[in-house]
């Protein structure tokens, strides 16, 4: 009797749950293959070009000049952004700076101003401005929030007990900052710096407006002058090599550090540093930053709005552009974040060579300039998948390729903040692996996902080149209208579009700011 019961037990169907990670991996690989399409396209073009022509096109003085300019741009902008962002994050998060909440919001707000509107504003104020100096200055004010956001969030997540501990071991406050706080900000700094570096390599409008040549502007010039894109493909190849270098540097500096807090317990209330007589000298930093990053665009736009009067508000055209822009932004933002979830989870929870490789693929794919992504998709749809030519699906794919890292950075760092033990605890409470993941990590990383949607929608609203080339017929987004009008030197006519882009991006930046606060439970 008992033996039959045993056999029955043995032969009872055993459900083998599919390993969550293998499914996730499959999806991540599929998205990566789609994302790598443009890169594959460039490689294909290079091979089709042949060795001799390629060498001829790459090893010439023009490319060397562009190389020097691009390297100088990156080497000057990133350190300045890092110092500025860390200083501002420290001032707003860890000191009794008057109006810290306001300043911390104003440090995120420049993200609402598209990069090319920043340079439109600077050109409006100083018409002769051009070259490397201008490029670095405008890049810093346009992009430092990409570092400020993760660094200030990391400041809030730091366990103040560690700083107390360091003080009890005899470290003065400055030494605590250097030896305990800064090393723990490393992950945030690396992520933000990489994002800025990739933007510097891929941005077109900002540098075209001030006549500063980078690889990206050169590639587009090449396209517009000759429809034979071979020379442009070779420039893109060099650009891809630059991205490889940035990715390698970031991976090396980031290391494999555990990010979640050790041990039990909830972080105590953070103590603030009293600035005392340093208050007013240090207040100059956020004031000056806000003046350059927000004051200048406000001044120029205000000037043109006043000068243009009521005539520039052609409501029918503007309303149409606005509606189309919003729809595209929302679809693109959600699609991008959804596409980033599998790789974000893998890169934290299954950090191994293959997930790092995959992650690298996404960064590489997104660092392709918009024009190359667009051209690749145009070529592929025209040659192979004609029904997809100039459809919403294709343009959304372009956005996913270009903006996935924005969603990935915020998703990854918020997943990394959730200790894996929580997932295991949920599993031990009888949740299936998928359910455990959903009820712990996904729920706790939700602020990161929201930040990802906001960041990528923001990018889409301000995206210009790919939109222009891929948008379904008859589409005219705010950015397209702005660029067309300012290209015709109708600065006043372009102003309403810029104002709308800023106004609609502002709630997104507010959301971003709010969510990054909420991660820390404040």
């Amino acid at each position: 009797m008992s033996s039959t019961a045993d056999t029955r037990l043995m032969t009872a169907p055993r459900y083998r749950l599919p390993a969550a990670s293998s499914w996730t991996m499959t999806i991540a690989v599929l998205v990566a293959l789609l994302a790598l399409l443009p890169l594959g396209f460039v490689l294909w073009a290079a091979i089709a070009t042949g060795w001799d022509t390629a060498v001829l096109l790459i090893f010439r003085s023009r490319v060397a000049e562009l190389m020097v300019d691009t390297i100088l741009l990156v080497l000057l902008t990133i350190p300045i952004c890092t110092i500025l962002a860390v200083t501002l994050a420290w001032l707003t998060e860890r000191t009794d700076l008057p109006g810290a909440r306001l300043w911390s919001w104003l440090c995120v707000a420049p993200l609402a101003v598209p990069a090319f509107v920043h340079s439109y504003a600077w050109v409006g104020l100083w018409p002769g401005i051009h070259g490397l100096g201008a490029g670095v200055a405008i890049s810093v004010v346009a992009y430092f929030p990409f570092l400020y956001l993760p660094v200030s969030a990391a400041f809030r997540m730091l366990d103040p007990a560690l700083e107390d501990q360091a003080a009890s071991l005899g470290l003065a406050p400055a030494a605590v900052l250097r030896r305990v706080v800064l090393p723990q900000l490393r992950l945030a700094i690396c992520g933000g710096a990489l994002l800025i570096g990739l933007h510097l390599l891929a941005e077109y409008g900002l540098y075209a407006m001030i006549r500063f040549d980078t690889f990206t502007t050169a590639i587009i010039d090449q396209f517009q002058s000759t429809y034979n894109g071979v020379a442009a493909y070779m420039l893109a190849l060099v650009l891809v090599a630059c991205c490889f270098v940035l990715l390698g540097l970031e991976a090396g500096l980031r290391g494999r550090r555990r990010y979640a807090r050790l041990g039990p317990g909830v972080a105590r209330h953070i103590r603030v540093t009293h600035l005392g007589r340093w208050t007013y000298p240090l207040l100059v930093i956020p004031v000056a930053t806000a003046a350059f990053s927000l004051g200048i665009p406000a001044l120029t736009l205000g000037h043109w709005l006043v000068a243009g009067g009521a005539d520039i508000w052609r409501m029918d055209e503007i309303g149409l552009a606005l509606g189309q822009t919003l729809v595209i932004c929302l679809i693109g933002g959600f699609a991008t974040t959804a596409a980033a979830v599998p790789i974000a989870w893998l890169s934290v929870r299954r950090a191994n060579r293959s997930s790092r490789f995959l992650e690298g693929c996404y960064y590489l794919a997104s660092s392709m300039p918009g024009v190359v992504v667009a051209l690749a998709l145009v070529t592929v749809t025209v040659r192979v998948l004609l029904p997809f030519y100039q459809t919403v699906a294709t343009i959304v794919l372009a956005y996913v390729i270009m903006f996935l890292p924005r969603a990935l950075v915020s998703l990854r760092s918020s997943i990394a903040q959730v200790p894996v033990e929580l997932e295991q605890a949920a599993a031990s409470l009888g949740r299936s692996p998928g359910n455990a993941l959903w009820s712990t990590t996904v729920r706790l990383a939700a602020p990161g996902a929201a930040a990802g949607v906001a960041l990528s929608s923001l990018g889409i609203m301000n995206e210009l080149t790919a939109t222009q080339m891929l948008a379904p017929n008859g589409t005219r987004t705010l950015a397209m209208a702005f660029w067309a009008l300012s290209g015709e030197i109708d600065y006043a006519g372009a102003a309403p579009y810029a104002v709308l882009m800023v106004l609609f991006s502002l709630p997104l930046t507010w959301l971003l700011h709010h969510q990054s606060k909420k991660i820390a439970g404040r």
Binding site: A167, S168, L169, G170, R258, Y259, L262, G263, G265, R271
Partner: protein, 346 residues
Amino acid sequence: MTFLKLDSLRKHYGAVAALDGVELCVASGSRTAIVGPSGCGKTTLLRLIAGFDAPDAGAILLDGEVMADAHGQVPAHLRNIGIVAQDGCLFPHLSVADNIGFGLKTDREARHARAAELMEMVGLDQAMLQRKPDQLSGGQQQRVALARALARKPRLMLLDEPFSALDTGLRVATRKAVADVLSAAGITTILVTHDQQEALAFADQLAVMRAGRLAQVGTPREVYARPVDAATASFLGEAIVLPARVRGAVADSALGALPVEAGDFEGDASILLRPEQISVQRAQGASLPANGTIGDVAFGGSTCDTQVTLDGAPSLSFRLDIPNRDMLLVGDRVAISVSGKAHVFR
């Protein structure tokens, strides 16, 4: 000789009085344990001593120097007070060796030599020096945290529930190891815990904390045997509290006339008996008259956790661990006797 003196320390968080006038003297080289229920202000007290927070009122004197008073305070990094927190609080970005050497201002080689020496002192293998904190178990992390705090030879060591994350066996072993290391180094220590066993075993001086005040301070034996009130008594172990009428050195209670410490007090009071003072036997006619009844019995191996109800006061019952050989069952009539003196609460 008083080494640390706390003088009516107060600390408020909004409307919450976390500390409400704490007075304490700690002798040089001694071990003090502070026990109290969760939220009574133990951690807050240690944070004030360590210098992480400033008191709202009162003073802290260490070795005759004022650490904090109404005029200001010495910052934490100049106090040389070691602290080991509940979760160890190791720096996640540094190896074990770098964690231990963190506070040392010597060169790298000397730092690592000292780290190795301390690892041995806290009973850990040197092979762990190169690991990261997240590659250690909870108990190992605690020992590393202790080694790190010891590295600078602190004047005073503060331990904030350092063993609470450990399981029972490991907790006893780690506690003994820590106590030995600290005695060997001759470092004055304050241990905070809400485990009374731990406090009684560890301390030379025991302080019971409640709602931001120290309810009682004394040697563990004294506080255990002569607590100031019923709450303190039951915090330190099973307490049997009976109403009684005290006259001279005798208290009349439901358990008959019990000897008490002769004092100046006369009248109605509560008296305290500890379970180990009470013995229970099966009643035997007139030679051993019954004065109680057995309630429910929970079998527990060598002893039974047994409820006993007194005849004189049916509303009064208490639980005792009774050796199993007596085989008492529900409803059995028993004779209850008391040895030693009862303690009178005033």
